[in-house]
């Protein structure tokens, strides 16, 4: 029997699921291998009977945690899809301020009662990655994910192998593509710390890597900071660069709760 797969999303743009939908003709092959029972990007049917849950988005409020825990309980395998699920996404930058400061900034203070914690939709918003709430079996990183890598992970799972997410930096794939190094044209690239697997599309298109896939397992961060300083960036600049997708690595708890 084909494994039943369900897609879910939390705080995110759903761009990663869109990337899956964009597999297009390959999607036909994929559908020969799995039964998709929930995927609101492409279908309206929904079932809670599934083996594999593929979850996009960051976890924001207690109600999201509850929902994720239910998904976890229903699934044999849970896969975090994309940077929001993997790291908390760009929205995690909000964790630099307390929930109250954020609410005040975003919603103003006209009717404080409407956005108080007692309203469960506004309860203690804090961005978390999935693995800070439940056990995550596999992660497909990236903003958005690389659809070829998605297919590779699926193939690995279906053939009983470890998903082949690389543990070397983007520089490796960038060099293999023979790109002009971003540093040589005065751009400040996170490639030396960032996990490869994307195929270095950003430097290939002339843009610096922002480490949307997170860091390799053993990044040499000190050396990267030295390098960026050498190229004229201040510590503040560097920290700003490092908080874009990878605030998780430098976050100091500031719950304000």
């Amino acid at each position: 029997m084909k494994p039943r797969v369900a897609f879910f999303d939390f705080a995110s743009c759903e761009g990663c699921q869109l990337s899956v939908a964009n597999l297009e003709e390959s999607l036909v092959d994929v559908l020969k291998l799995i039964d998709i029972v929930a995927f609101r990007e492409v279908m309206k049917e929904h079932s809670d009977q599934y083996d594999i849950a593929i979850v996009e988005g960051s976890i924001t409020r207690p109600m999201d945690e509850e929902r994720l825990k239910k998904i976890r309980a229903n699934a044999n395998i849970l896969i975090a899809l994309g940077a929001c699920a993997h790291l908390g996404g760009v929205q995690r930058m909000a964790n630099q301020w307390t929930p109250e400061e954020n609410k005040k900034e975003v919603y103003g203070i006209a009717n404080p009662a409407d956005i108080a914690d007692s309203n469960r939709f506004f309860e203690k918003p804090r961005q978390k990655a999935l693995d800070e709430v439940v056990k995550v079996d596999y992660t497909i990183p990236g903003c958005p994910i690389n659809k070829e890598e998605f297919a590779k992970v699926l193939i690995a799972l279906l053939t009983g192998r470890k998903p082949p997410i690389p543990d070397y930096p983007v520089c490796v794939e960038c060099k293999k593509k023979e790109n002009v190094c971003m540093f040589t044209i005065g751009k400040f690239c996170m490639g030396p710390l960032a996990r490869a697997g994307c195929g270095a599309p950003c430097p290939t298109a002339g843009n610096e890597c922002e480490a949307c896939r997170g860091y390799v397992d053993h990044p040499h961060e000190k050396a990267q900071t030295d390098v960026l300083e050498k190229y004229g960036l201040t510590v503040d600049d560097i920290m700003r660069r490092k908080t874009m997708f990878t605030y998780r690595y430098v976050e100091k708890p500031k719950d304000g709760a």
Binding site: G160, C171, N179
Partner: protein, 642 residues
Amino acid sequence: MKILMKEDFKAFVNALIGDPSLDTVGVKAKGQKFVFDSLDSADELRLDYDVTILPPKKYFLPQYETIVEFDMSQPFSAKRPEYPRKRVIIGVHPYDIAAIRQMDSYFLDTDITEAYLRRRKNTLIIGSDVITVSPTAFFGDMKTGEVKSGYDLFITDLGDRVSFEVGTEEGERLLRHAANLKDSTPVDLQKRKAKRNSANGKAMRGLMAKPNVWHDLLEKNFESIVWKNQSDKCLACGTCTLVCPTCFCYDINDEINLTLKSGERVRTWDGCLLRQFTVISTGEVFREDIVDRYRHRFHRKGRYLPDRLGFVACVGCGRCSSQCVPDIADPVKMMNMLFESSEHVIAEDGDRDAHSVSIDAKNFDLEGTISLHMPKPATIIRAEKVTEKEMFFEIEMDDHKPLGHQPGQFVEVSLFGSGEAPISVSSPPGGNTFELVVRKAGDLTNKLHLMKAGDKVGIRGPFGKGFDAEALKKKNLLFIAGGLGIVPMRSLFNHVLNNRPDYGEVTVLYGCKEPCEMLFKDEVAAWGQRKDITHLLTVDKCPDGECWEGDIGVVGKLIPKVKFDPKHTIVILVGPPVFYKFVIRDLKKLEVPDENIIVSLERRMKCGVGKCGHCQMSGVYVCKDGPVFNYKEIKDNKEAFK
């Protein structure tokens, strides 16, 4: 020397581009840098380039290359891929030609890489003099600004005209595409000489340590603080190795298509600066610290490859230093730094340099060369689970021939879709089948554990240097096995038992973590019945509920409990990486001479033939020079027992 005026030269290049039998590549601009790429028109060709981002090695050892195509719907179905049409590369600088000649020596050494040879034979090289010198180039210092061979044609841009030198008959035949070829004049020769002299002069960056002293310089400064100081700035991004024309290490992975029925075994560039380069399936990392990886790269260039193949593996192209973001990859700076800080007298190594190659690709014939990475089909005869984690397999090659192994050798076991893993042969030599014991540790071994009699596997090998059973004859033998070490050791031990009268006293000490992990329980029980061997067993711990009559503690603790003559006994040690340091220390307390200790080491062995680079332990390839070593030969190897 022949001459073509510029317009005629362009017509020549366009004629090559228009020849449907050829894939014509040359140097083109990419942003403000240059790359080798397919040419659409002679106007794209930039003979004034300084250096390309990647060297032309990508045409002989591509970044990604399918080496086996497999069909998983069949029990065992594999074929070699088709290779592309003939290629001509225009504009290869002399230093890159020197590097290609080094590559020839590397891949056409004892085990010929068929895919490499095929590409090499299928590629014509049109060399070109350097017109613009890259600021980081130091081919003047390395004397690689000129080559006498290694090209089919060699051209020099002389302004309004291009000079041609013929290197091979095949190169000369390319000139059929050239119209209005005329003889050169003495003025042309003079102009070319001036261009060369100028380029070579500009490519001198003040390298104080000449290539022929690099070996000694590196050897004497292995522990220098310079390595740590520099590597503290290293991002370990792998760039220096990827852009290097003399870095050849590669990885191999299986990729399965979305049909789940077929796939490809793909060889990709790898690099020793990357952490995962030395990680093995059980999790050990043999070069964890960046300083070790950083140092390894320089030592491989200046010491290990010179020792193995004769040449200094640096051609002075300057790519590493121009592309290293923290600017710590420059060989000129590194060698000068070592040279200046060196208090020792540095010995010269004859006239060794980047040109010291002994192999010429021209002398090799594709006929009869075998594909190094193509496994042979074999059938599982017997599969038995022996512990929670280990399974025993008896395997027969499908050609029904014996494996022909020595005790202590290993094979690469292959399952299409899951890759390959090095597995020690556990049975003694002889017989039409051989035995393996496989621990569940990764994708491939997990899959193997699901297999049963009648299933097919791929086998490459046997590989490496095993135990010399002949040389051990008449000697007293003390075997010490830790954990899985019993598996390779058994190939020798059972050979000794089968030929017991040929050997002196035989003692075996075997330790594992817990009683349930003990392997070959029936055979171990039979040891007790024999009067001609002594044996002791130990476990690290015996959990409640398990039964154990032997010792408790690490295997080294058994050594004082057996009688043996330390001076006249050969000790054979096989165990996990941590085991050696302790057991060897215990043996040295008893004054066992170094040469009487034999070890079998573990590293990440991927290709099995000393090409992919992963198992390298300083200059030693564990897959080829080992895994069995005499301790005396290996004890000073800085990476052996680290």
